[in-house]
Subunit: 144 residues, 2 copies
DNA sequence: GTATTTGCAAATCATTTGCATAAAC
DNA sequence: GTTTATGCAAATGATTTGCAAATAC
């Protein structure tokens, strides 16, 4: 636990981000629960204990942390953006039926065909049915 | 030209989408101009000629067409969703500096590691600097 | 004739902004 | 002490919704 705290503090220093208690709370929450939380969920989570953050501060914190590379924003899965800590690179799977967002192992993509563009990163989003929804879909089909 | 019209009409039939003039106008616009238009841009474009569509109808049309697979929604490039016709599969490059969205040749992705999930499609979004922004970035660096 | 779709304006949801106060360096 | 971040409430932007009138099958 103090291990995690130390790593978070260090991350702020090496990323050159001013470590406010509010930002710390956001990063700690994301580091502790590897879910793909929305800003709203993070807002509620950090306001269950101290320090409290306003919604605007949660958004500000997420932006700073994302900009510094400590957090990753996943924009393409539904309405609200989702965030996760950027510890090891991975892609995402979004279930068309229940909206679940799951991690998928990183895939190297051959970056020919990219011309003079300077690629900073890339993101693969798979879409379809998650295991649970695929199963209940199959069962519904059999029932007919 | 009548070629395109015929193809569009046929697309409605084979996709099983009720072909209203408003939907037709949306699909025709997207098919004619291979840009990644936002709903707002499409709304303005179709309202320059007949048939007029309300904003709600443009959104409805885009949803039906996307659902039917005739149009693809690109969600992860800025605030507003962008749309293109789904004629040949491709990925996207988003410029972090100017926001341009460019097409990138399709890449096959090895779909191991996807477990029991049923993948319907996937989408690779590359991010970085487009050729023009990369160039002016380089020039700005030299000037210092 | 029945099921869908359209148009409008109002509603909603996610996110941003402006500005005074407070905290970090 | 100066710069940067916070909190609040109001503003904005994108998209959706409810419902009556119109259109497609």
């Amino acid at each position: 636990m103090s291990n995690l705290n130390a790593r978070i503090s260090e991350a702020f220093v090496t990323a050159g981000v001013r470590p406010t208690p509010q930002r710390y709370a956001v990063l700690e929450f994301l580091a502790r629960r590897p879910v793909h939380a929305t800003a709203e969920e993070i807002f509620h989570a950090v306001n269950r204990k101290d320090p409290r953050s306003s919604r605007a501060t949660v958004y500000n914190s997420l932006r700073s942390l994302t900009h510094a590379g400590l957090v990753r924003e996943i924009a393409s899965c539904g309405k609200a953006a989702r965030f996760d800590t950027n510890l090891c690179p991975h892609h995402h799977f979004v279930c068309d039926s229940c909206g679940a967002v799951e991690d998928i192992a990183w895939v190297e993509i051959p970056q020919s065909a990219l011309g003079g563009r300077m690629v900073r990163n890339y993101d693969v989003v798979f879409r379809g049915l998650c295991e649970r929804c695929a199963r209940s879909d199959r069962e519904a089909g059999e029932r007919q």
